[in-house]
């Protein structure tokens, strides 16, 4: 539980723990993964906004696909679902009506970001005394 809301609404803990288990006992590597997810997601959100401005449905679909795949891996299911909807719309060639969807998707991403930043903080506190 973080930021006064249930992180379970944002991240499916079971999937999140599965991802964690998949990388073994290496907490440092897991933090590296989270950091990569966060920086990649910012890039994908930026490409989505650019694709929307340029009415480039293919780029929009690609960015939505990447963000969907990464988010699903971390258990960010509601975000992944929004990405899947956006990807489907973009593949159907729709660009103009998805502006509102991108805004929704972005605010969902910010929730995921808060939970993951919180996780990173906890991990770093755990690591600190041993280093």
């Amino acid at each position: 539980v973080s930021d006064g809301m249930s992180s379970a609404d944002v991240l499916d803990r079971a999937v999140f723990e599965q991802m964690r288990a998949a990388v073994g006992e290496d907490d440092e590597f897991f933090c590296e993964l989270i950091e990569t997810y966060l920086s990649d997601s910012e890039l994908q959100l930026a490409s989505m906004r650019m694709a929307l401005a340029e009415r480039d449905a293919a780029s929009l679909a690609r960015a939505a696909h990447s963000l969907k795949s990464n988010s699903a891996g971390f258990g960010a299911i509601p975000l992944a679902t929004l990405c899947a909807e956006l990807e489907a719309a973009a593949r159907a060639g729709t660009v103009a009506p998805v502006g509102a969807e991108i805004t929704r998707l972005e605010s969902e991403y910010r929730r995921v970001e808060r939970v993951l930043q919180h996780t990173l903080q906890i991990e770093r506190q755990k690591e600190a005394p041993t280093r």
């Binding site: 288990a21 990388v23 290496d26 590597f29 990447s66 795949s69 891996g73």
Partner: protein, 212 residues
Amino acid sequence: MTSTARMKENASQAGRGGHVLIVDDNTLNQMVLRRALLEHGHTVSTAEHGKAGLDLLRAQHPLIDVVLPDIMMPVMDGFQTLAEIMGDSALRDLAVIMISSVEESDAVIGCLRMGARDYIPKPFNVTSLSALGNRINALLAAKWSRQREAEHAYIMEELTQLITNMDPGEPAPARLFEIGARRDSVGRLARAVERLSHRLNTQAPQTTGRPA
């Protein structure tokens, strides 16, 4: 990359494990797969999309043993990449394992029909990564066994030629001794021919020296 992973990468480059090429534009997938494969003692290369992957394959084959293309990628997707590999006589024997998300199951079946050996579903988990490791090890073992058989057959053919062309009274050719240094059945056969030739030559009145 962590220091443990880096150490393992160096260890694998020293000769253990195989060389796996991950073809995926997704950084996280690359990171997780790369780490799991390094843990298994393999050398890992990565490419961002099928086109870059094919360029690397064509430059480095046969150094690469297994290719892991994601199905959905920019520039050239996994399906096209597989088609290119299967259509290239120099690459056709490469083991290809597709990376796919759940909703791509139809595409996966298509890839398996086209010649992909297997697939790994996303998101990855401990079970799927461990199954991938075992599958790659089995594919490598099969590849190395095929290579040994082919090499064995080649040397056997060479030995047959050598024996056929040997003249009684002539010293045995140097190549026979090289083959005789092998520890397998071809080596044993070569050594037997060596002994026979030596006996024939020492018994023959016109020869004076022993073979080197």
